[in-house]
Symmetry: C2
Subunit: 635 residues, 2 copies
């Protein structure tokens, strides 16, 4: 179903609720935004997606899968930057206390004003009311994401203001608190429904906070990603991998994001299942051993320079071409983009509704140095479902600096090599008496310097005779007598480096939702006949067994067949409800079960059954053994 065609999201949502794919959590208590429970169908679908993911990535590439804790201590997430930077801006209706995410609010209000402007123009141009309504509908459909709408009033805007709004909307993701504050003031943006004034935007950290143990002294957060647990174990992983590079760790698990005001169903939730890969690679050699196997994969790219020029045309080419042209930075990144592509197609995402969009420089997370998103088109627009970021050496470096634990690879060099290295000499005689209890900390601070810092230190000492050393928030002054630093040639037999990390990160709930939209269609002959055409490998159940009636003669056959199917890895569901076969077939279609086997009186006589195909509704009759063979082959 193309995205341009009218997409009846309400009808799909009704189907998903009826067949319990998912539902708001704590619904009998009124529910809380951003929390969903997966029912038997949604849970089986999710489990099957995870299982395919594990086969496709972890087993296929011998990745080292981990299962680390969700609860994470403050220190870890302080170091990773999440305590300081993992935040959104919110503002409050000053009278009724309603809270908004500031960027979403600005977006909603300006979009509403632009819509009002278009309506007013259409009306002025002598269009009928029906035309104006059509403008409204089209405009709503084209919204990037569904937001709480500002009230639409048909008022024409001055040309200049209209342009300003469009510019703001184009770069809304780039604004921080100060910019949002200014926009809200300048364009008199108010609480959309009440019209009340708003507070200035304030930062709100998106991590759920808690206390570990009874002391009240140990702060913890629910992890916002599964990555940090993998980085912390890097040393053990490298050892487990017999010190060989490159390699990848992986993790599937729950992560949390305390959204200010979640909406858009499964697309923006407070608790979700992720699957993340951390591929550790030599920064000097980002080639990948599997690159040749995937380089001919043709995909659709949206590079950053295309976006910067204001266009959205997709560039179709092979991964190899993209890497050669420098559109995709390196082989490893290209390799994973192709593998992500293959995975998404395998589980049923439609090829023509999938693209790879490069992040613009100002859009990337604080740790990333290059990033591509696999975006899937849904009725909410193009949705980021997999991020593939080059996190460089950021995480391993910051954790290493903070903990003084070396998180490096030591590579035995084939030939020793001579390199220039900074040599530091600490004068113990002056150092101890001068810095007393801080002496050790000051020394360690200097020893952990990067090359740039050493160069600066040397420059300062030469120029001024003294230099500043920072230890946490304290500053100390060292002199030429305390410390000397110079470059010298040393012969190295071992190269030591901090690996870079390429991180494919999958939002499984989003992928699942996109798959639901892509799999849904309605049989033309009958408006009410919904079908969910999942590929058999991820369908919640592979086969349904339907006894014709409640006749006890069918029972042993149902039991025998369902056992045989299960033993052959075909998950089954028995539908022995009293409903007619036709009604049960259509229930099957709604559950997305690709095959149905009907047991009837003939079965009792000759062991044959009817196999019905979900998508074509074709039926064939054969012995159960032959049907089983077909199912084993087709899945």
């Amino acid at each position: 179903m193309s995205a341009d065609k009218q997409f009846d999201r309400t009808a799909l949502e009704q189907l998903l609720t009826k067949r319990f794919f998912y539902a708001p959590s704590f619904q009998i208590y009124g529910g809380v935004a951003g929390f969903y429970d997966f029912g038997p169908t949604g849970c089986a679908l999710l489990n099957n997606i995870i299982s395919q993911w594990r086969n496709h990535f972890v087993l296929e590439e011998e990745m080292l899968e981990l299962d680390t804790t969700i609860m994470t201590t403050h220190d870890v997430l302080k170091t990773s930057g999440h305590v300081d930077k993992f935040a959104d801006w919110m503002c409050k209706d000053l009278k009724n206390g309603e809270i908004f995410r500031a960027d979403h609010l600005v977006e909603a209000v300006l979009e509403a004003r632009l819509l009002g402007d278009r309506q007013a123009r259409a009306a002025k141009a002598g269009a009928t009311d029906a035309d104006a309504a059509a403008v409204a509908t089209t405009a709503q459909k084209s919204d990037k994401k569904k937001k709480k709408k500002g009230t639409v009033v048909a008022v024409e805007l001055p040309e200049e203001e209209r342009k300003a709004y469009e510019e703001i909307l184009a770069q809304i993701d780039n604004y921080g608190g100060p910019e949002l504050t200014e926009i809200i003031k300048k364009y008199n943006i108010r609480s959309p429904e009440s019209g009340n004034e708003l507070s200035e935007p304030q930062e709100f950290n998106l991590m759920f906070e808690s206390q570990i143990g009874p002391t009240g002294q140990l702060k913890g957060y629910l992890r916002p990603e599964t990555a940090q647990g993998q980085f912390l174990n890097f040393k053990k992983l490298l050892e487990f991998n017999n010190e060989k590079m490159p390699f990848a760790s992986a993790q599937v698990g729950r992560a949390f994001r305390n959204e200010i005001s979640p909406r858009s169903g499964l697309l923006r939730v407070r608790e979700f299942t992720m699957a993340e890969i951390e591929h550790y690679v030599d920064p000097d050699n980002k080639n990948h051993p599997g690159y040749n196997d995937v380089k001919d994969t043709v995909m659709r790219f949206l590079p950053k320079d295309v976006q910067l020029s204001g266009k959205t045309e997709l560039q179709e080419m092979t991964v190899g071409e993209a890497v050669e042209k420098g559109i995709v930075d390196n082989q490893t990144l290209g390799y994973f983009l192709a593998r992500i592509y293959q995975f998404l197609l395998k589980i049923g995402i439609k090829r023509d509704r999938l693209r790879f969009r490069q992040h613009m420089d100002n859009e990337m997370a604080h740790y990333a140095c290059d990033c591509w998103d696999a975006e899937i088109q849904t009725s909410y627009g193009w949705i980021e479902c997999v991020g593939c970021a080059d996190r460089s050496a950021y995480d391993l470096t910051v954790h290493s600096v903070r903990t003084k634990e070396k998180l490096v690879v030591r590579e035995q060099l084939a030939e020793p090599r001579v390199v220039e290295k900074w040599q530091v000499e600490i004068n113990k005689k002056t150092f101890g008496p001068k810095f007393k209890k801080n002496a050790k900390a000051v020394e360690e601070a200097i020893l952990s310097y990067t090359d740039e810092c050493f160069a600066q230190l040397q420059k300062d000492l030469e120029a001024n005779g003294v230099a500043q050393v920072e230890v946490g928030s304290d500053k100390f002054e060292v002199s030429k007598d305390d410390v000397s630093v110079q470059k010298a040639k040393v012969t190295e037999h071992v190269r030591e480096y901090t690996p870079n990390v390429i991180e494919p990160s999958f939002g499984l709930g989003r992928i699942l939702y996109a798959l639901l939209e892509h799999s849904w269609w309605v049989r033309e002959d009958d408006e009410a006949r919904n079908v969910l055409s999942f590929p058999p490998i991820v369908a919640p159940f592979k086969c349904c067994i339907l006894p014709l009636s409640a006749n006890a003669a069918f029972d042993p056959f149902v039991r025998k067949f369902s056992r045989a199917l299960r033993q052959n890895g075909v998950s089954t569901r028995t539908d022995d409800s009293g409903a007619s076969i036709g009604r049960r077939y259509s229930r099957n279609d709604e559950l997305g079960i690709p095959y149905a086997i009907t047991v009837d009186f003939q079965t009792v006589e000759d062991n044959t059954v009817t196999l019905r195909y979900r998508d074509s509704t074709k039926q064939i009759r054969d012995s159960f053994e032959n049907i089983l063979k077909i199912l084993k082959e087709e899945q």
Copy 2:
């Protein structure tokens, strides 16, 4: 390995760390008690256990699996009783602030004193120091759980005090705050290491608390069990199951318990993976359709009356016998005990180190009406790994009362039946004016009465002309004029009931740890040769491929074989490190990989490989295709 034999836990723990089964979380930050990360081996082992669990229970019995949120709102857990009752008692060292779990502290100190007493007696009886040390060692080994020890001083105790200590230790699990306070005072129990005085025990709720959203108004907790999410969805599940009874829901997922002072490695942690089944059953008919298939299973039981008489002898009998004799209350409970037993044996738990112990009446959770634990013997003693509780109608009833959502089964009766039911008549004329804005709440409170409450209401109205009605914490007085209540005969066509819930609840981390202990042994010919003999179905990897050397001629064979194995569902790991084959075999044994395939120069010529069996070290040589056939059959 029998538990009586010296069990070298330190050696096992070294092996588990070396092969990265699990490790303390945030270890490079110093770690936090009660949090563990599973490494590649532990994670694969856990995933395989979960996969077997899902096959054995969910798929085999067509259970409805759910995936509900970890974050749970205050209201839900207030209703379930966890906010008020899910707590332990803690006390504080009044000088250094150290915090202890009060019952563990009492236990540790009294055990230390008893040990000192035994040492003193042994010394007095003229034993050598070595003998006394042996007493100490034996006593330590026999401790039920490893606790932080009180300092052991060899002081003989008066006979009476010794007896008192033993009595206290025997029922330590039954004591609440007041009893613990009394014991601490009476026996002058102090902080074990510092000898300082202790604060009075205080209650500490074991749930991790957090705030949902930015308002600060919505309190949430990390779920302490996966069960509540299942109960909240009962209505949708029943509908999904076409209103048929009995049926079960199931869930695998993370749960949390903010332990006061966790220890004992994986056995008592703050974050863990559980698997829970909620089987909904007619309270008037707890028979189970699968009972006949399992009733001949022979198991070892420890019923509560045996324990009450102070004995621990296990009673070996069939499940059928246990149900018939009333030792196990009903077929459904018996059915699940047998299924749990089968599951644990299947994944490798040793038959002679597994027992089913019934909870004593004062030991059960606040919701349970009968409970059996599958206990597995480890070096820490007999450990509860699976609980199988009859939660009665407790949870569905409390959620229903709180939310006014009917959580019941409606059963069409074959024959209409006449029953006596309470009929209430509210006099709207007096009710409204009298209770004003509370009128509706008071009416609803009366209408939701149980039979017992109606009987009491009638009695009060008859005796006094008035009666009290509680609405939350408010009380209202109704009179005979406001309300009348009597029993009357009504004809019912539908029977409406709240199902009872039988809940098998699996602590997967504990089962995994027990499996590690049961699987570990050391080859007799070589003290250093550890083996972990996991059954192939749960082994972290099924097969290891070992190229004889780094010769490039082996590469295509390694790739071809590992792909073929994976495609046939045999998970593989390639060990192409430079170590000798012998050393790699022994690494294999330590990883618990049941099969190893060696690729050598002969392979290049004739496509044959060597298959080595982990447990027997037997080796056979055959074509790869034949070896593949063996592996597919044996797993």
